[in-house]
Amino acid sequence: MKVSRYSENSVTVYLGDDISEETNKKLVNLKKELEDQAHEGVTEIVISYTSLIVYFDVFKTSGEALEKVLGEIDLEALQGKPFEYRLVEIPVCYGGDYGPDLGRFEEDGLSPEDVIDMHSDTEYLVYMLGFMPGFPYLGGLDEKLFKARLDDPRTSIPAGSVGIGGKQTGMYPFTSPGGWNLLGRTPIPLFDEERDPQILYEAGDRIVFKSIDEAAYNKLEEQVASGEYEVNITMREAE
Protein backbone atom coordinates (compact mmCIF):
# COMPACT_ATOMS: atom_id res chain seq x y z
CA MET A 1 0.00 0.00 0.00
CA LYS A 2 1.42 3.36 -1.05
CA VAL A 3 -0.26 6.43 0.47
CA SER A 4 0.48 9.88 -1.00
CA ARG A 5 -0.96 13.35 -1.29
CA TYR A 6 -1.13 15.29 -4.55
CA SER A 7 -3.61 17.97 -3.53
CA GLU A 8 -4.68 19.89 -0.44
CA ASN A 9 -7.97 18.07 0.02
CA SER A 10 -7.21 14.47 -0.94
CA VAL A 11 -5.18 11.40 -0.06
CA THR A 12 -4.39 8.76 -2.72
CA VAL A 13 -3.80 5.08 -1.98
CA TYR A 14 -2.19 2.75 -4.56
CA LEU A 15 -2.84 -0.96 -4.08
CA GLY A 16 -1.30 -2.39 -7.24
CA ASP A 17 0.42 -1.67 -10.55
CA ASP A 18 -1.82 -3.31 -13.12
CA ILE A 19 -5.43 -4.10 -13.95
CA SER A 20 -6.55 -7.12 -11.95
CA GLU A 21 -9.74 -8.36 -10.33
CA GLU A 22 -7.81 -8.88 -7.12
CA THR A 23 -6.67 -5.25 -6.92
CA ASN A 24 -10.21 -4.09 -7.70
CA LYS A 25 -11.57 -6.24 -4.85
CA LYS A 26 -8.98 -4.81 -2.45
CA LEU A 27 -9.89 -1.26 -3.46
CA VAL A 28 -13.64 -1.89 -3.09
CA ASN A 29 -13.04 -3.49 0.32
CA LEU A 30 -10.95 -0.54 1.45
CA LYS A 31 -13.60 1.90 0.25
CA LYS A 32 -16.31 0.01 2.17
CA GLU A 33 -14.15 -0.09 5.29
CA LEU A 34 -13.56 3.67 5.14
CA GLU A 35 -17.27 4.27 4.62
CA ASP A 36 -18.04 2.04 7.62
CA GLN A 37 -15.52 3.89 9.79
CA ALA A 38 -17.32 7.12 8.75
CA HIS A 39 -14.49 9.55 9.50
CA GLU A 40 -15.53 13.12 10.10
CA GLY A 41 -14.70 15.29 7.09
CA VAL A 42 -14.41 12.56 4.44
CA THR A 43 -16.54 13.79 1.55
CA GLU A 44 -15.96 11.42 -1.35
CA ILE A 45 -14.06 8.24 -2.25
CA VAL A 46 -13.27 7.44 -5.90
CA ILE A 47 -11.85 4.13 -7.18
CA SER A 48 -9.77 3.60 -10.30
CA TYR A 49 -7.87 0.56 -11.67
CA THR A 50 -5.08 0.62 -9.10
CA SER A 51 -5.85 3.48 -6.73
CA LEU A 52 -8.41 5.04 -4.51
CA ILE A 53 -8.67 8.72 -3.72
CA VAL A 54 -10.21 10.05 -0.52
CA TYR A 55 -11.44 13.66 -0.64
CA PHE A 56 -11.94 15.60 2.58
CA ASP A 57 -13.04 18.92 4.01
CA VAL A 58 -9.84 20.76 4.99
CA PHE A 59 -11.54 22.34 8.01
CA LYS A 60 -12.79 19.01 9.42
CA THR A 61 -9.78 16.72 9.01
CA SER A 62 -6.32 16.73 7.45
CA GLY A 63 -4.17 14.75 5.05
CA GLU A 64 -1.91 13.68 7.92
CA ALA A 65 -4.87 12.41 9.98
CA LEU A 66 -6.22 10.37 7.05
CA GLU A 67 -2.79 8.98 6.19
CA LYS A 68 -2.65 7.69 9.77
CA VAL A 69 -6.15 6.17 9.49
CA LEU A 70 -5.16 4.39 6.26
CA GLY A 71 -1.90 3.12 7.77
CA GLU A 72 -3.84 1.43 10.55
CA ILE A 73 -6.17 -0.54 8.27
CA ASP A 74 -5.31 -4.24 7.99
CA LEU A 75 -5.84 -4.99 4.28
CA GLU A 76 -5.35 -8.73 4.71
CA ALA A 77 -8.12 -8.89 7.31
CA LEU A 78 -10.44 -6.97 4.96
CA GLN A 79 -9.93 -9.58 2.23
CA GLY A 80 -11.54 -12.20 4.46
CA LYS A 81 -14.79 -10.26 4.81
CA PRO A 82 -17.85 -11.25 2.74
CA PHE A 83 -17.96 -9.25 -0.50
CA GLU A 84 -21.31 -8.21 -1.91
CA TYR A 85 -21.82 -6.80 -5.38
CA ARG A 86 -24.63 -6.14 -7.82
CA LEU A 87 -25.17 -8.07 -11.03
CA VAL A 88 -26.91 -5.66 -13.42
CA GLU A 89 -28.66 -7.01 -16.53
CA ILE A 90 -28.51 -4.70 -19.54
CA PRO A 91 -30.90 -5.72 -22.36
CA VAL A 92 -29.29 -5.09 -25.77
CA CYS A 93 -30.72 -5.26 -29.26
CA TYR A 94 -27.72 -6.35 -31.35
CA GLY A 95 -27.16 -5.50 -35.02
CA GLY A 96 -29.19 -3.51 -37.53
CA ASP A 97 -29.20 0.25 -37.11
CA TYR A 98 -28.31 -0.21 -33.45
CA GLY A 99 -25.13 -2.16 -34.13
CA PRO A 100 -23.78 -1.06 -37.54
CA ASP A 101 -20.33 -2.59 -36.90
CA LEU A 102 -21.50 -6.11 -36.00
CA GLY A 103 -20.64 -7.28 -39.52
CA ARG A 104 -17.06 -5.99 -39.27
CA PHE A 105 -16.10 -9.06 -37.25
CA GLU A 106 -16.62 -11.24 -40.36
CA GLU A 107 -13.03 -10.30 -41.29
CA ASP A 108 -11.97 -12.05 -38.08
CA GLY A 109 -14.01 -15.12 -39.02
CA LEU A 110 -16.88 -14.30 -36.64
CA SER A 111 -20.48 -14.16 -37.81
CA PRO A 112 -22.85 -11.65 -36.15
CA GLU A 113 -24.36 -14.59 -34.25
CA ASP A 114 -20.89 -15.61 -32.98
CA VAL A 115 -20.22 -12.06 -31.76
CA ILE A 116 -23.59 -11.85 -30.00
CA ASP A 117 -23.05 -15.26 -28.36
CA MET A 118 -19.60 -14.31 -27.13
CA HIS A 119 -20.51 -10.80 -26.00
CA SER A 120 -23.80 -11.49 -24.22
CA ASP A 121 -24.42 -13.66 -21.13
CA THR A 122 -20.89 -12.93 -19.91
CA GLU A 123 -20.27 -11.14 -16.61
CA TYR A 124 -18.09 -8.08 -16.96
CA LEU A 125 -16.47 -6.49 -13.92
CA VAL A 126 -16.93 -2.73 -13.46
CA TYR A 127 -13.38 -1.61 -12.60
CA MET A 128 -14.24 2.07 -12.43
CA LEU A 129 -16.47 4.76 -13.92
CA GLY A 130 -15.32 7.84 -15.77
CA PHE A 131 -14.88 9.43 -19.21
CA MET A 132 -18.54 10.52 -18.95
CA PRO A 133 -21.19 10.08 -16.23
CA GLY A 134 -22.11 6.41 -15.90
CA PHE A 135 -19.48 5.16 -18.36
CA PRO A 136 -18.12 1.84 -17.00
CA TYR A 137 -14.58 0.61 -17.61
CA LEU A 138 -15.36 -3.10 -18.00
CA GLY A 139 -13.08 -6.09 -17.76
CA GLY A 140 -13.64 -9.61 -19.02
CA LEU A 141 -14.02 -9.20 -22.80
CA ASP A 142 -13.19 -12.36 -24.79
CA GLU A 143 -9.82 -11.81 -26.55
CA LYS A 144 -11.33 -12.94 -29.85
CA LEU A 145 -13.54 -9.84 -29.73
CA PHE A 146 -10.67 -7.36 -29.31
CA LYS A 147 -11.02 -4.91 -32.19
CA ALA A 148 -9.21 -1.68 -33.00
CA ARG A 149 -11.24 1.54 -32.85
CA LEU A 150 -12.54 2.96 -36.13
CA ASP A 151 -9.98 4.91 -38.20
CA ASP A 152 -12.59 7.57 -38.68
CA PRO A 153 -14.50 8.13 -35.41
CA ARG A 154 -18.22 8.93 -35.64
CA THR A 155 -19.22 12.46 -34.76
CA SER A 156 -22.27 11.29 -32.84
CA ILE A 157 -22.96 7.97 -31.17
CA PRO A 158 -26.48 7.64 -29.69
CA ALA A 159 -26.87 7.21 -25.94
CA GLY A 160 -27.26 3.54 -24.97
CA SER A 161 -24.89 2.30 -27.69
CA VAL A 162 -22.91 -0.81 -26.73
CA GLY A 163 -19.58 -1.41 -28.39
CA ILE A 164 -15.99 -2.53 -28.39
CA GLY A 165 -12.92 -0.28 -28.47
CA GLY A 166 -9.63 -2.19 -28.51
CA LYS A 167 -9.58 -4.54 -25.52
CA GLN A 168 -12.58 -2.98 -23.84
CA THR A 169 -16.32 -3.29 -24.12
CA GLY A 170 -18.68 -0.70 -22.75
CA MET A 171 -21.63 1.54 -23.36
CA TYR A 172 -22.24 5.22 -23.95
CA PRO A 173 -24.63 6.71 -21.34
CA PHE A 174 -24.82 9.98 -23.32
CA THR A 175 -24.76 10.83 -27.00
CA SER A 176 -21.17 11.64 -27.86
CA PRO A 177 -18.54 11.40 -30.58
CA GLY A 178 -16.54 8.17 -30.50
CA GLY A 179 -14.55 5.56 -32.38
CA TRP A 180 -15.86 2.32 -30.92
CA ASN A 181 -17.23 -0.57 -32.99
CA LEU A 182 -20.95 -0.50 -32.27
CA LEU A 183 -22.61 -3.87 -31.63
CA GLY A 184 -26.04 -2.85 -30.42
CA ARG A 185 -28.05 -0.56 -28.19
CA THR A 186 -29.93 -0.70 -24.90
CA PRO A 187 -33.22 1.15 -24.42
CA ILE A 188 -32.51 1.40 -20.65
CA PRO A 189 -31.27 4.86 -19.67
CA LEU A 190 -27.86 4.44 -18.07
CA PHE A 191 -28.44 7.69 -16.21
CA ASP A 192 -31.95 8.52 -15.05
CA GLU A 193 -32.39 11.51 -12.81
CA GLU A 194 -35.74 10.21 -11.53
CA ARG A 195 -34.49 6.73 -10.74
CA ASP A 196 -32.95 5.39 -7.54
CA PRO A 197 -30.12 4.63 -8.13
CA GLN A 198 -29.55 7.20 -10.87
CA ILE A 199 -26.55 5.19 -12.08
CA LEU A 200 -27.15 1.43 -11.92
CA TYR A 201 -23.67 0.21 -10.97
CA GLU A 202 -20.44 1.22 -9.31
CA ALA A 203 -16.87 -0.04 -9.13
CA GLY A 204 -16.87 -3.70 -8.03
CA ASP A 205 -20.28 -4.53 -9.54
CA ARG A 206 -20.82 -6.72 -12.61
CA ILE A 207 -22.74 -6.19 -15.82
CA VAL A 208 -24.25 -8.83 -18.09
CA PHE A 209 -25.67 -8.01 -21.54
CA LYS A 210 -28.87 -9.88 -22.50
CA SER A 211 -29.73 -10.15 -26.19
CA ILE A 212 -33.27 -8.93 -27.01
CA ASP A 213 -35.08 -8.62 -30.33
CA GLU A 214 -36.40 -5.43 -31.86
CA ALA A 215 -39.97 -6.01 -30.58
CA ALA A 216 -38.68 -6.33 -27.02
CA TYR A 217 -36.52 -3.24 -27.57
CA ASN A 218 -39.51 -1.21 -28.74
CA LYS A 219 -41.63 -2.39 -25.83
CA LEU A 220 -38.94 -1.46 -23.33
CA GLU A 221 -38.47 1.88 -25.02
CA GLU A 222 -42.20 2.61 -24.53
CA GLN A 223 -41.98 1.59 -20.88
CA VAL A 224 -38.99 3.89 -20.41
CA ALA A 225 -40.91 6.75 -22.03
CA SER A 226 -43.77 6.27 -19.57
CA GLY A 227 -41.35 5.93 -16.66
CA GLU A 228 -42.49 2.38 -15.88
CA TYR A 229 -39.61 0.08 -16.57
CA GLU A 230 -37.61 -2.29 -14.44
CA VAL A 231 -33.97 -3.26 -14.45
CA ASN A 232 -32.93 -6.69 -13.22
CA ILE A 233 -30.40 -6.23 -10.47
CA THR A 234 -29.34 -9.15 -8.27
CA MET A 235 -27.24 -8.90 -5.14
CA ARG A 236 -24.47 -11.45 -5.16
CA GLU A 237 -21.84 -12.55 -2.71
CA ALA A 238 -18.35 -13.38 -3.93
CA GLU A 239 -16.51 -16.49 -2.84
Binding site: S4, R5, Y6, S7, E8, N9, S10, T12, D18, I19, T43, E44, I45, V46, I47, S48, Y49, T50, S51, I53, Y55, V58, F59, S62, G63, M128, L129, G130, F131, M132, P133, G134, F135, Y137, P173, F174, S176, E193, Q198, I199, E202, A203
Partner: protein
Amino acid sequence: MTFKVMNPGLFSTMQDAGRFHHQAYGFSPSGAMDYRAQKLVNKLLGNDENAAVLEMTLHGVTLEVLQDTVVATAGAEAKIFVDDETYAPGVPIRLIKGETLTIGKAEKGSRIYLGVAGGFDVPEVLGSRSTHTRSGIGGFRGRTLKPGDVLKSFDDAFQSHGKKIKSFEEDAVIRIIPGQQYENFDDEARKKLFGSEYEITKDSDRMGFRLSGPELNAGGGHDVLSEPTQLGSVQVPKNGQPIILLNDRQTAGGYARIATVALADIPKLVQKSPGETLTFEEIDVDAASGLYKEELVRIDSDEYFEPLTDFTSLRRKSALKISKLMGV
Protein backbone atom coordinates in the same frame (compact mmCIF):
# COMPACT_ATOMS: atom_id res chain seq x y z
CA MET B 1 -39.58 35.56 -13.78
CA THR B 2 -36.63 37.88 -13.28
CA PHE B 3 -34.84 38.24 -16.62
CA LYS B 4 -35.26 37.53 -20.30
CA VAL B 5 -32.05 36.89 -22.21
CA MET B 6 -31.63 39.31 -25.12
CA ASN B 7 -27.97 38.54 -25.85
CA PRO B 8 -26.48 35.42 -24.24
CA GLY B 9 -22.80 36.44 -24.55
CA LEU B 10 -20.18 33.93 -25.71
CA PHE B 11 -20.50 31.08 -23.21
CA SER B 12 -22.78 31.77 -20.25
CA THR B 13 -23.80 29.03 -17.82
CA MET B 14 -25.40 28.74 -14.39
CA GLN B 15 -22.91 27.53 -11.78
CA ASP B 16 -22.89 27.07 -8.03
CA ALA B 17 -19.97 25.74 -5.97
CA GLY B 18 -20.06 22.42 -7.85
CA ARG B 19 -21.52 18.92 -8.01
CA PHE B 20 -19.51 16.94 -5.51
CA HIS B 21 -19.89 13.39 -4.13
CA HIS B 22 -20.61 11.86 -7.55
CA GLN B 23 -17.17 11.64 -9.14
CA ALA B 24 -17.13 7.89 -8.47
CA TYR B 25 -20.03 7.67 -10.98
CA GLY B 26 -18.20 9.79 -13.53
CA PHE B 27 -19.88 13.16 -12.88
CA SER B 28 -17.56 16.13 -13.33
CA PRO B 29 -17.79 18.49 -10.38
CA SER B 30 -18.40 21.49 -12.72
CA GLY B 31 -19.17 24.62 -10.66
CA ALA B 32 -17.94 28.21 -10.91
CA MET B 33 -14.32 28.16 -12.06
CA ASP B 34 -13.41 31.22 -9.98
CA TYR B 35 -14.74 29.80 -6.70
CA ARG B 36 -13.74 33.00 -4.90
CA ALA B 37 -15.76 35.30 -7.17
CA GLN B 38 -18.82 33.03 -6.93
CA LYS B 39 -18.72 33.13 -3.12
CA LEU B 40 -17.96 36.86 -2.88
CA VAL B 41 -20.83 37.96 -5.11
CA ASN B 42 -23.24 35.81 -3.09
CA LYS B 43 -21.90 37.21 0.18
CA LEU B 44 -22.32 40.76 -1.11
CA LEU B 45 -25.94 40.08 -1.99
CA GLY B 46 -26.67 38.28 1.30
CA ASN B 47 -27.20 34.93 -0.45
CA ASP B 48 -26.20 31.45 0.62
CA GLU B 49 -22.56 31.25 -0.52
CA ASN B 50 -23.41 28.19 -2.61
CA ALA B 51 -26.20 29.97 -4.56
CA ALA B 52 -26.15 29.71 -8.37
CA VAL B 53 -24.60 32.60 -10.31
CA LEU B 54 -24.23 33.23 -14.03
CA GLU B 55 -20.69 32.58 -15.29
CA MET B 56 -19.88 34.50 -18.47
CA THR B 57 -16.70 33.86 -20.42
CA LEU B 58 -14.95 36.88 -21.99
CA HIS B 59 -18.20 38.67 -22.85
CA GLY B 60 -21.27 39.47 -20.78
CA VAL B 61 -24.99 39.09 -21.43
CA THR B 62 -27.79 41.55 -22.11
CA LEU B 63 -30.91 40.91 -20.03
CA GLU B 64 -34.36 42.46 -20.01
CA VAL B 65 -35.39 43.02 -16.39
CA LEU B 66 -38.82 41.42 -15.77
CA GLN B 67 -39.09 42.22 -12.07
CA ASP B 68 -37.37 44.54 -9.58
CA THR B 69 -34.26 42.98 -8.07
CA VAL B 70 -30.66 43.62 -7.05
CA VAL B 71 -27.61 42.24 -8.88
CA ALA B 72 -23.83 42.54 -8.72
CA THR B 73 -20.84 41.15 -10.59
CA ALA B 74 -17.56 39.71 -9.36
CA GLY B 75 -14.53 38.11 -10.97
CA ALA B 76 -13.51 39.59 -14.32
CA GLU B 77 -14.27 43.28 -14.65
CA ALA B 78 -16.51 44.56 -17.41
CA LYS B 79 -18.58 47.69 -18.03
CA ILE B 80 -22.10 47.37 -16.67
CA PHE B 81 -24.96 49.33 -18.20
CA VAL B 82 -28.49 49.74 -16.92
CA ASP B 83 -30.16 51.33 -19.91
CA ASP B 84 -27.75 54.26 -20.46
CA GLU B 85 -26.23 54.52 -16.99
CA THR B 86 -22.92 52.80 -16.25
CA TYR B 87 -22.01 51.07 -13.01
CA ALA B 88 -18.89 49.54 -11.53
CA PRO B 89 -18.17 45.84 -10.97
CA GLY B 90 -18.51 44.59 -7.40
CA VAL B 91 -21.30 46.96 -6.30
CA PRO B 92 -24.92 46.01 -5.66
CA ILE B 93 -27.15 47.51 -8.35
CA ARG B 94 -30.91 47.88 -7.98
CA LEU B 95 -32.78 47.01 -11.18
CA ILE B 96 -36.30 48.06 -12.05
CA LYS B 97 -38.78 46.15 -14.22
CA GLY B 98 -38.51 47.18 -17.84
CA GLU B 99 -34.86 48.18 -17.73
CA THR B 100 -32.09 46.53 -19.72
CA LEU B 101 -28.95 45.23 -18.03
CA THR B 102 -25.92 44.93 -20.29
CA ILE B 103 -22.60 43.49 -19.23
CA GLY B 104 -19.79 44.30 -21.65
CA LYS B 105 -16.64 42.45 -22.51
CA ALA B 106 -14.16 41.41 -19.84
CA GLU B 107 -11.52 44.14 -19.59
CA LYS B 108 -9.60 42.59 -16.72
CA GLY B 109 -9.79 38.81 -16.23
CA SER B 110 -11.84 36.44 -18.36
CA ARG B 111 -14.78 35.11 -16.34
CA ILE B 112 -17.48 37.46 -15.11
CA TYR B 113 -19.96 36.30 -12.44
CA LEU B 114 -23.42 37.82 -12.18
CA GLY B 115 -25.18 37.22 -8.90
CA VAL B 116 -28.81 38.09 -8.15
CA ALA B 117 -30.44 38.63 -4.75
CA GLY B 118 -31.80 35.22 -3.66
CA GLY B 119 -29.70 33.34 -6.23
CA PHE B 120 -30.76 32.02 -9.64
CA ASP B 121 -33.57 29.49 -9.48
CA VAL B 122 -32.55 26.50 -11.60
CA PRO B 123 -33.28 22.90 -10.57
CA GLU B 124 -30.84 20.93 -8.46
CA VAL B 125 -29.47 17.81 -10.13
CA LEU B 126 -27.53 15.46 -7.84
CA GLY B 127 -27.37 18.17 -5.23
CA SER B 128 -26.07 20.98 -7.42
CA ARG B 129 -27.35 23.74 -9.73
CA SER B 130 -24.16 23.70 -11.80
CA THR B 131 -24.24 23.19 -15.57
CA HIS B 132 -22.14 20.49 -17.21
CA THR B 133 -22.69 21.23 -20.90
CA ARG B 134 -20.91 18.11 -22.19
CA SER B 135 -23.42 15.78 -20.55
CA GLY B 136 -26.28 18.30 -20.68
CA ILE B 137 -26.81 18.11 -16.94
CA GLY B 138 -27.83 20.79 -14.48
CA GLY B 139 -28.08 24.58 -14.55
CA PHE B 140 -30.41 26.09 -17.16
CA ARG B 141 -31.52 23.02 -19.16
CA GLY B 142 -27.97 21.65 -19.12
CA ARG B 143 -26.72 24.21 -21.63
CA THR B 144 -25.38 27.70 -22.27
CA LEU B 145 -27.94 30.51 -22.37
CA LYS B 146 -29.73 31.38 -25.62
CA PRO B 147 -31.70 34.47 -26.67
CA GLY B 148 -35.26 34.33 -25.30
CA ASP B 149 -34.43 32.20 -22.23
CA VAL B 150 -36.34 33.34 -19.16
CA LEU B 151 -34.36 33.20 -15.91
CA LYS B 152 -35.89 32.97 -12.46
CA SER B 153 -34.44 33.90 -9.09
CA PHE B 154 -35.46 32.97 -5.57
CA ASP B 155 -37.37 35.61 -3.60
CA ASP B 156 -35.10 37.59 -1.38
CA ALA B 157 -35.28 41.02 0.19
CA PHE B 158 -31.85 42.56 -0.36
CA GLN B 159 -30.31 44.52 2.49
CA SER B 160 -27.21 46.57 1.81
CA HIS B 161 -24.29 46.01 4.14
CA GLY B 162 -22.61 49.14 2.79
CA LYS B 163 -19.90 47.08 1.11
CA LYS B 164 -18.44 46.49 -2.33
CA ILE B 165 -16.04 43.83 -3.62
CA LYS B 166 -12.44 44.98 -4.08
CA SER B 167 -10.81 44.78 -7.48
CA PHE B 168 -8.86 41.49 -7.72
CA GLU B 169 -5.11 41.24 -8.13
CA GLU B 170 -3.77 39.68 -11.31
CA ASP B 171 -0.76 37.41 -11.10
CA ALA B 172 0.82 35.02 -13.60
CA VAL B 173 2.78 32.90 -11.11
CA ILE B 174 0.97 29.63 -10.44
CA ARG B 175 2.12 27.39 -7.62
CA ILE B 176 2.03 23.65 -8.28
CA ILE B 177 2.34 20.54 -6.10
CA PRO B 178 4.36 17.58 -7.49
CA GLY B 179 1.86 15.21 -9.10
CA GLN B 180 1.18 11.46 -9.29
CA GLN B 181 3.74 10.82 -12.05
CA TYR B 182 6.28 13.54 -11.17
CA GLU B 183 8.89 10.76 -11.06
CA ASN B 184 8.21 9.90 -14.71
CA PHE B 185 9.78 13.22 -15.69
CA ASP B 186 13.55 13.78 -15.56
CA ASP B 187 15.46 16.83 -14.28
CA GLU B 188 15.47 18.45 -17.70
CA ALA B 189 11.67 18.34 -17.94
CA ARG B 190 11.32 19.71 -14.41
CA LYS B 191 13.78 22.53 -15.19
CA LYS B 192 11.74 23.45 -18.26
CA LEU B 193 8.49 23.38 -16.29
CA PHE B 194 9.75 25.70 -13.57
CA GLY B 195 11.98 27.86 -15.76
CA SER B 196 9.80 28.66 -18.77
CA GLU B 197 6.71 30.57 -19.72
CA TYR B 198 3.70 28.62 -20.92
CA GLU B 199 1.03 30.23 -23.07
CA ILE B 200 -2.67 29.43 -22.67
CA THR B 201 -3.85 28.34 -26.13
CA LYS B 202 -7.23 29.06 -27.67
CA ASP B 203 -8.25 25.39 -27.25
CA SER B 204 -8.91 26.13 -23.59
CA ASP B 205 -12.29 25.91 -21.95
CA ARG B 206 -14.07 24.84 -18.76
CA MET B 207 -12.68 21.32 -19.19
CA GLY B 208 -9.08 22.40 -19.20
CA PHE B 209 -6.41 24.88 -20.25
CA ARG B 210 -4.14 23.60 -22.98
CA LEU B 211 -0.71 25.19 -22.68
CA SER B 212 2.01 25.76 -25.23
CA GLY B 213 5.70 25.98 -24.34
CA PRO B 214 8.87 23.89 -24.04
CA GLU B 215 8.05 20.17 -24.41
CA LEU B 216 8.03 18.14 -21.23
CA ASN B 217 9.22 14.62 -22.00
CA ALA B 218 8.35 11.83 -19.63
CA GLY B 219 11.09 9.21 -19.94
CA GLY B 220 8.99 7.12 -17.57
CA GLY B 221 6.04 7.23 -19.98
CA HIS B 222 3.20 9.59 -20.86
CA ASP B 223 0.46 6.97 -20.79
CA VAL B 224 -0.64 5.54 -17.47
CA LEU B 225 -3.61 3.45 -16.37
CA SER B 226 -6.70 5.64 -16.03
CA GLU B 227 -6.83 7.28 -12.62
CA PRO B 228 -9.14 9.81 -11.02
CA THR B 229 -8.36 13.36 -12.14
CA GLN B 230 -8.31 16.33 -9.80
CA LEU B 231 -9.01 20.03 -10.12
CA GLY B 232 -5.76 21.54 -11.38
CA SER B 233 -4.12 18.24 -12.44
CA VAL B 234 -1.35 19.15 -14.91
CA GLN B 235 -1.27 16.22 -17.32
CA VAL B 236 1.25 15.80 -20.12
CA PRO B 237 0.36 13.75 -23.20
CA LYS B 238 2.97 12.48 -25.68
CA ASN B 239 3.36 15.85 -27.43
CA GLY B 240 4.88 17.21 -24.22
CA GLN B 241 2.44 20.13 -23.99
CA PRO B 242 0.77 20.33 -20.55
CA ILE B 243 -2.98 20.48 -20.02
CA ILE B 244 -4.41 21.81 -16.75
CA LEU B 245 -7.64 19.98 -15.93
CA LEU B 246 -10.42 22.22 -14.63
CA ASN B 247 -14.03 22.04 -13.45
CA ASP B 248 -15.68 20.25 -16.40
CA ARG B 249 -12.86 17.67 -16.71
CA GLN B 250 -13.49 13.99 -17.24
CA THR B 251 -13.27 12.27 -13.87
CA ALA B 252 -10.66 9.75 -15.04
CA GLY B 253 -7.60 10.30 -17.17
CA GLY B 254 -4.71 8.28 -18.52
CA TYR B 255 -1.93 10.82 -19.06
CA ALA B 256 1.04 11.28 -16.74
CA ARG B 257 0.43 14.05 -14.25
CA ILE B 258 3.49 16.11 -13.45
CA ALA B 259 1.76 18.39 -10.94
CA THR B 260 -1.44 19.75 -9.39
CA VAL B 261 -2.20 23.48 -9.27
CA ALA B 262 -2.47 24.74 -5.68
CA LEU B 263 -6.17 25.35 -4.97
CA ALA B 264 -5.35 28.81 -3.60
CA ASP B 265 -4.12 29.78 -7.09
CA ILE B 266 -7.13 28.45 -9.03
CA PRO B 267 -9.00 31.82 -8.97
CA LYS B 268 -6.11 33.72 -10.55
CA LEU B 269 -5.44 30.90 -13.04
CA VAL B 270 -9.00 30.72 -14.36
CA GLN B 271 -9.13 34.49 -14.85
CA LYS B 272 -6.38 34.16 -17.49
CA SER B 273 -7.36 34.20 -21.16
CA PRO B 274 -5.96 32.43 -24.21
CA GLY B 275 -2.79 34.21 -25.33
CA GLU B 276 -1.66 35.05 -21.80
CA THR B 277 1.35 33.30 -20.28
CA LEU B 278 1.94 31.56 -16.96
CA THR B 279 5.02 30.57 -14.98
CA PHE B 280 5.09 27.80 -12.39
CA GLU B 281 6.59 27.64 -8.93
CA GLU B 282 6.92 24.47 -6.85
CA ILE B 283 5.13 24.20 -3.51
CA ASP B 284 4.77 21.18 -1.23
CA VAL B 285 1.36 19.83 -0.34
CA ASP B 286 1.50 20.96 3.31
CA ALA B 287 2.37 24.55 2.45
CA ALA B 288 -0.34 24.53 -0.22
CA SER B 289 -2.87 23.23 2.33
CA GLY B 290 -2.02 26.14 4.62
CA LEU B 291 -2.50 28.64 1.78
CA TYR B 292 -5.81 27.11 0.75
CA LYS B 293 -7.23 27.28 4.26
CA GLU B 294 -6.03 30.89 4.60
CA GLU B 295 -7.73 31.73 1.30
CA LEU B 296 -11.04 30.19 2.40
CA VAL B 297 -10.85 32.07 5.70
CA ARG B 298 -10.14 35.34 3.84
CA ILE B 299 -13.16 34.79 1.58
CA ASP B 300 -15.29 34.18 4.65
CA SER B 301 -13.96 37.33 6.37
CA ASP B 302 -14.41 40.87 5.06
CA GLU B 303 -10.93 41.09 3.57
CA TYR B 304 -12.11 41.12 -0.04
CA PHE B 305 -14.63 43.89 0.65
CA GLU B 306 -14.31 47.64 1.08
CA PRO B 307 -16.82 50.29 2.14
CA LEU B 308 -19.33 51.37 -0.46
CA THR B 309 -19.10 55.14 -0.60
CA ASP B 310 -21.27 55.89 -3.59
CA PHE B 311 -24.79 54.57 -3.07
CA THR B 312 -26.17 55.75 -6.43
CA SER B 313 -26.43 52.15 -7.69
CA LEU B 314 -28.84 51.33 -4.86
CA ARG B 315 -30.84 54.55 -4.68
CA ARG B 316 -31.89 54.24 -8.29
CA LYS B 317 -35.55 53.53 -7.59
CA SER B 318 -36.22 56.64 -5.52
CA ALA B 319 -34.06 58.76 -7.80
CA LEU B 320 -36.03 57.50 -10.77
CA LYS B 321 -39.36 58.21 -9.08
CA ILE B 322 -38.31 61.75 -8.20
CA SER B 323 -37.17 62.44 -11.72
CA LYS B 324 -40.47 61.09 -13.03
CA LEU B 325 -42.46 63.25 -10.60
CA MET B 326 -40.49 66.27 -11.68
CA GLY B 327 -41.16 65.32 -15.28
CA VAL B 328 -37.46 65.39 -16.14
